[in-house]
C-alpha cells in the first residue's frame, strides 16, 4: 500500500512520518566462481560454483523529509549497494525499506518519478546533442507539464548560471559544466528524494564550493531529502549535519558529524610551542602511557591525549615546561575517518 506522504504531512504536522525507513536491510551477492583453465570452465557448466559476498549487513535507519544525510565509508563498504537498493536498482537479500511510502525495488513508475540519482562518474545525458534536448526528452519521460518544466528549468538555469551551456553538445562541455547539467537533469522533474553518488568527483575546488552552495540552497527552498556519498570530507562537513558511516557493510555510526569525532576518537590534540628548547620532552611525556606524540610540525609539538586526561595533562605541561603557546583541538574529521578505515574499528 502506498500513499503520497505529502498528504499525510499536511494532516499530521506535529509528527511527520520519516520519508525513508530502512529496517534490517541485507544484501549478499552470489558471485560465480570461475577458475582459470579449460577443465574448470567445462566443470562450471555442469556444476556452477558460487561464493557469497556480503555487501550490506543488517542496516536500519530512518530519514526525515528535508534532511541531508552523508553516507560515508571506504571503497567497497556498501554505500553504493545501499543507494542502489533505495533507488530500486537492486533487490535486497532480506530486510525492508519504505521510501516515500513505496517499496523501492517494486520500481513503480510513481515512485521512480519521485526520486533522482546523480552519479559523479557517469553521465545520464546524450553526449552528441545539447543538454537542452536531453532535458526536453526527460521532461516528457517524467510527464512534467510543459509550463512547470519551463518554470523549473528557467529557475535552475538562472541559479546555476548555465545559459551559455545549453546550446553546446555535451561532449564539448568541461567536467564542471557537465555536472551542472547532470544536476539539472536530476532536478527538472522536482523529485522529493535525491541520491547523490560522489557528485563533486574530479571537480576543481571553486566548482565544488559552488555546487555545495547550490545544493544547500536548493534543499532549503524545496525540502528535498538528500542522501549524499562523497570521499571529499569538505562536502560532508559543508552539507551534512548528519552522517552514517558504513564499513564492511555495517552501519557503525549514525548521528551528528561533529559528534562522530568525539564518539569514534575519544581524544584531543594538544599543540605546544616552547619559549626555550626543551630537552627530554619524550621522557616527560612517557609518564602518561596513554598519551602519544605525533610528528613534529614547524617546531610545535603535538600530543594525542585521551579526553578524560586533557585537564590533568595540560595542567602539568603548563606547570613544568616553558610553554609559550598551548592549544587544545578536536582531531580533524578526516584523520578520524582515515583511522577507522585503516583500523576497521571504532
Amino acid at each position: 500500500m502506498s500513499f503520497p506522504y505529502k498528504t499525510l504531512r499536511r494532516q499530521d504536522a506535529t509528527q511527520p512520518e520519516p520519508i525513508i525507513q530502512v529496517s534490517h536491510l541485507t544484501k549478499v551477492y552470489r558471485v560465480p566462481e570461475r577458475a582459470p583453465g579449460l577443465g574448470a570452465s567445462i566443470r562450471s557448466l555442469f556444476k556452477p560454483q558460487h561464493s557469497d559476498v556480503p555487501a550490506v549487513t543488517d542496516i536500519s535507519f530512518t530519514v526525515e523529509p528535508g534532511e541531508i544525510v552523508g553516507l560515508i565509508g571506504p571503497n567497497g563498504a556498501g554505500k553504493t549497494t545501499t543507494l542502489k537498493m533505495l533507488s530500486g536498482l537492486l533487490y535486497p537479500s532480506s530486510g525492508e525499506a519504505q521510501v516515500a511510502g513505496y517499496t523501492p525495488w517494486k520500481r513503480q513508475p510513481d515512485y521512480l518519478r519521485r526520486i533522482s540519482m546523480v552519479m559523479g562518474n557517469r553521465s545520464a545525458l546524450n553526449w552528441d546533442i545539447p543538454p537542452l534536448d536531453s532535458f526536453r526528452v526527460l521532461s516528457q519521460i517524467y510527464r512534467v507539464p510543459p509550463d512547470q518544466y519551463r518554470q523549473t528549468l528557467d529557475e535552475l538555469i538562472a541559479t546555476l548560471d548555465m545559459e551559455a551551456l545549453l546550446k553546446k553538445p555535451v561532449r564539448n562541455l568541461s567536467l564542471g559544466e557537465r555536472m551542472k547539467c547532470e544536476l539539472v537533469a536530476g532536478l527538472l522533474y522536482q523529485p522529493d528524494i535525491m541520491f547523490l553518488d560522489e557528485p563533486t568527483l574530479g571537480l576543481d575546488v571553486a566548482m565544488q564550493r559552488r555546487l555545495r552552495t547550490f545544493l544547500k540552497a536548493y534543499n532549503e527552498q524545496h525540502t528535498v531529502t538528500v542522501i549524499l556519498t562523497s570521499h571529499y570530507m569538505a562536502d560532508v562537513t559543508a552539507l551534512c549535519p548528519r552522517v552514517m558511516l558504513i564499513h564492511h557493510g555495517q552501519l557503525i555510526y549514525d548521528g551528528a558529524l561533529h559528534a562522530l569525532a568525539a564518539r569514534l576518537a575519544p581524544f584531543k590534540l594538544v599543540r605546544l610551542q616552547f619559549s626555550t628548547p626543551v630537552e627530554n620532552f619524550d621522557d616527560f611525556v612517557a609518564q602518561w602511557p596513554a598519551v602519544e606524540q605525533l610528528p613534529v610540525e614547524n617546531g610545535s609539538r603535538t600530543l594525542r591525549v585521551p579526553r578524560a586526561d586533557v585537564p590533568l595533562v595540560t595542567a602539568r605541561l603548563l606547570e613544568s615546561l616553558p610553554v609559550a603557546d598551548l592549544s587544545v583541538e578536536d582531531p580533524p574529521i578526516e584523520a578520524v575517518i582515515d583511522q577507522i578505515y585503516a583500523e576497521g574499528t571504532l
Binding site: V28, L89, L90, Y91, P109, D110, S116, I129, D133, Q140
Partner: protein, 263 residues
C-alpha cells in the same frame, strides 16, 4: 498516447544526434547502394545458370530479397540501434550505465526497444520498397486484396519475429555481459536472404521453428507471390505470437537477474 508521444520525442532526439554526427552522407549512400547492388547481382548470377530452384524463379526470389531488405531497413531504423545501445558493443550493460535507464519511470522493454532511431535507414527502406515494386512488376502479378492483406500481415509477423529474436538474444547479455549475442542473430539473419526451401531438410527445420529467420522473409514473399497456404500463414502468426511472448518473458527474467531479484 503517452507512449506515442515518447516515441516522437525519441525520434526527434535521435535525429538531432545523428545529424550532429556528420558522418558523410555519401559514404553511407555508397554502402547502401553497394548492399543493394550485390543483392540484385547475386540473383542475376544465380538465375543466369538456372531458371527455377525448388519452385522459386527470379521474380519470386527478387520479391524475397525485397522483404529481406525491408526487414533489414526496419531493424536499422530503430530496433537494432535501440537494443544495441543496451546489449551491443560498448552497450550500457557492458559499461555499467544501464542503471540510469533502469531509473526511468517507463516500462523497460518499451524504453530499450524504441529509444534510438537512425533516420538514414529510411533510405534503405525506400530502396527495399523499390525492389519489391520491381519484383511485383516482374511477377506481372494479379494482386488480389487477399494477397495484399496476407502480405502485410505476414510482413508484420516477420518484423515481430525479427524483433523477438533480437530481444531474446539481447536479453542473454544479462547473464553474460561480455559476449556480443546480438551479433550472432544478425549473422544468422543473413540466411534469410534466400527462400528457406532452398536449404537442406535439417537446416530448413531449424530455420523455421528454432531460430525462425526462415519464417521472417519466406512467408511474406510467398504471400506476395501467391504460394502461401492459409494453414501455414496461421501457423506462422501463432508462432510469432509465441515467440514474442517468449522473448518478452526472457527479457523480464534477465532484468530480474540483473537486479538480483532472484537469488
Amino acid at each position: 498516447m503517452h507512449h506515442l508521444k515518447l516515441i516522437g520525442a525519441f525520434f526527434k532526439v535521435s535525429s538531432q544526434a545523428e545529424l550532429a554526427y556528420r558522418v558523410n552522407f555519401f559514404i553511407r549512400l555508397l554502402h547502401s547502394g553497394l548492399n543493394l547492388l550485390t543483392g540484385v547481382l547475386s540473383l542475376v548470377v544465380i538465375f543466369n545458370q538456372v531458371e527455377v530452384i525448388k519452385g522459386w524463379d527470379m521474380p519470386a526470389a527478387l520479391a524475397l530479397l525485397g522483404v529481406y531488405l525491408l526487414l533489414g531497413a526496419l531493424r536499422g531504423l530503430f530496433i537494432g540501434p535501440s537494443l544495441e545501445s543496451v546489449a551491443g558493443m560498448d552497450g550500457e550493460i557492458w559499461t555499467g550505465t544501464y542503471d540510469f535507464t533502469l531509473l526511468r519511470p517507463v516500462d523497460q522493454q518499451f524504453l530499450i526497444s524504441f529509444r534510438h532511431w537512425r533516420i538514414f535507414a529510411l533510405v534503405d527502406l525506400s530502396m527495399a520498397i523499390g525492389v519489391l515494386v520491381y519484383a511485383l512488376v516482374l511477377l506481372g502479378a494479379q494482386l488480389t486484396i487477399g494477397m495484399v492483406l496476407s502480405f502485410l500481415l505476414t510482413l508484420l509477423a516477420g518484423v515481430t519475429l525479427l524483433y523477438a529474436a533480437l530481444l531474446a538474444f539481447s536479453a542473454l547479455v544479462f547473464w553474460n555481459p561480455g559476449f556480443l549475442f546480438t551479433w550472432v542473430i544478425n549473422d544468422l539473419f543473413q540466411l534469410a536472404r534466400y527462400p528457406v526451401g532452398l536449404y537442406p531438410g535439417w537446416l530448413r527445420l531449424v530455420l523455421t521453428w528454432i531460430i525462425p529467420v526462415g519464417l521472417m522473409t519466406t512467408i511474406p514473399a510467398q504471400a506476395l507471390v501467391g504460394t502461401l497456404s492459409p494453414w501455414m500463414m496461421l501457423l506462422t502468426l501463432a508462432f510469432t505470437l509465441a515467440a514474442f511472448l517468449g522473448a518478452t518473458w526472457l527479457f523480464r527474467h534477465g532484468l530480474k537477474k540483473y537486479t538480483s531479484a532472484s537469488s
